[in-house]
Symmetry: C2
Subunit: 219 residues, 2 copies
């Protein structure tokens, strides 16, 4: 069965647990643009990605969006089941960026499994720690240090100076201009790439959407 | 043994696990002002609070501090062992606000226990979910919506209008002025109270430190 291949700690479950999980995981297909989850009150359960792409984002009062992360095949989504993780109450929106298929696992069923199975609990822990870390990093860099604005502004200026959208520049050099470590610049450039703003190659940054970069810079 | 009373899922451990844990948990005493942990590279292990108070905060490039949360007796600290939670790499500082005693549990020992014991893994999960949620809320409200600035500004203005530091005003009313739900205002007021800025009583808010409130408002 395909689900078994996608569920990360399947081999560490007992046959009874495997059966209960398989019987409860429902494969859903949603077209591009579907809002799969909206706000903390909405508890659709845990999602295990099969195909396609989901975007998880938060929305400010003024309607500004910040993408927290994307979910690709084999990724596991906890925030869609925030109701079940005591304390995890957070308003995110999850939207399909492509036609997408995922398994939806009812929150209560998964929680029961976590309580029985240390491997499942530890796997869930790891996913949560990784998301926690990503989200903290992003929010800190974007909302506190405005690195997204500063980086976008820098790229737009360089492009005007160079009279072109293909910039031959290293992340190291960008970092020196912005006063940020290279690793931080690389991570934010990858975030821009995921957002469709730039394309990264060795030793160069190509601006794909100067208008949107300008909009980011002007925040 | 006292540790057994403080460790939340002690009764769900096997005698061998209890023994291994007790042998490895080291009671440490630190005076007020001690920096217990600093940055993600520093992996002192998991902390279980016995007495006193620790403050967990992040620091911006310009040296601005945001308190993420405080740890009181019986609280459990994960971020001090971020090295062990794969993916959880986050630069926080942990400082003793009072003379403090805590048990320090080596990261590897605890991780092994999590892998063996579903109750320990699930407990750790719950703590992480609660912190994740707190931190997201706070960062969103403070760094994105500037609720701290707006609330502090409102309180300082009201105090000038009323000619006194004891404001007879409900959280509901403050919320209407700031365009935020009552629950959000209450939570931020409690945060201010923990920071020593105000004292809350039924139907009133007393300003304890107008100068610091003004500094927050001017951010």
């Amino acid at each position: 069965m395909e689900f078994a291949e996608y569920f990360p700690v399947w081999d560490k479950l007992t046959p009874a647990q495997q059966q209960a999980l398989a019987e409860n995981a429902m494969l859903r297909t949603v077209p591009k643009g579907t809002v799969v989850h909206n706000g903390s009150a909405d508890c659709i359960g845990f999602l295990l990605m099969h195909t396609g792409q989901l975007r998880v984002y938060i929305l400010s009062d003024e309607g500004r969006e910040v993408t927290l992360y994307r979910l690709f095949p084999r990724d596991f989504c906890l925030l869609s089941a925030s109701c079940i993780l005591r304390g995890l109450q957070y308003d995110v929106t999850i939207e399909a960026e492509k036609d997408t298929q995922f398994w939806q696992i009812p929150a209560q069923r998964y929680k029961q499994l976590m309580e029985e199975s240390a491997p499942v609990a530890n796997y869930t822990n790891e996913v949560m720690a990784a998301r926690f870390s990503d989200v903290m990093w992003l929010i800190e860099q974007i909302l506190w240090k405005s690195l997204d604005k500063r980086l976008a502004g820098f790229l737009v200026e360089e492009s005007a100076l160079e009279n072109g959208t293909l910039l031959k520049i290293t992340h190291e050099t960008i970092g020196r201009h912005l006063g940020s470590p290279r690793e931080v610049v690389t991570r934010m450039l990858r975030y821009f790439q995921d957002e469709g703003l730039v394309k990264l190659s060795r030793g160069s940054v190509e601006l794909l959407d100067v208008d949107r970069l300008r909009a980011v810079a002007e925040g």
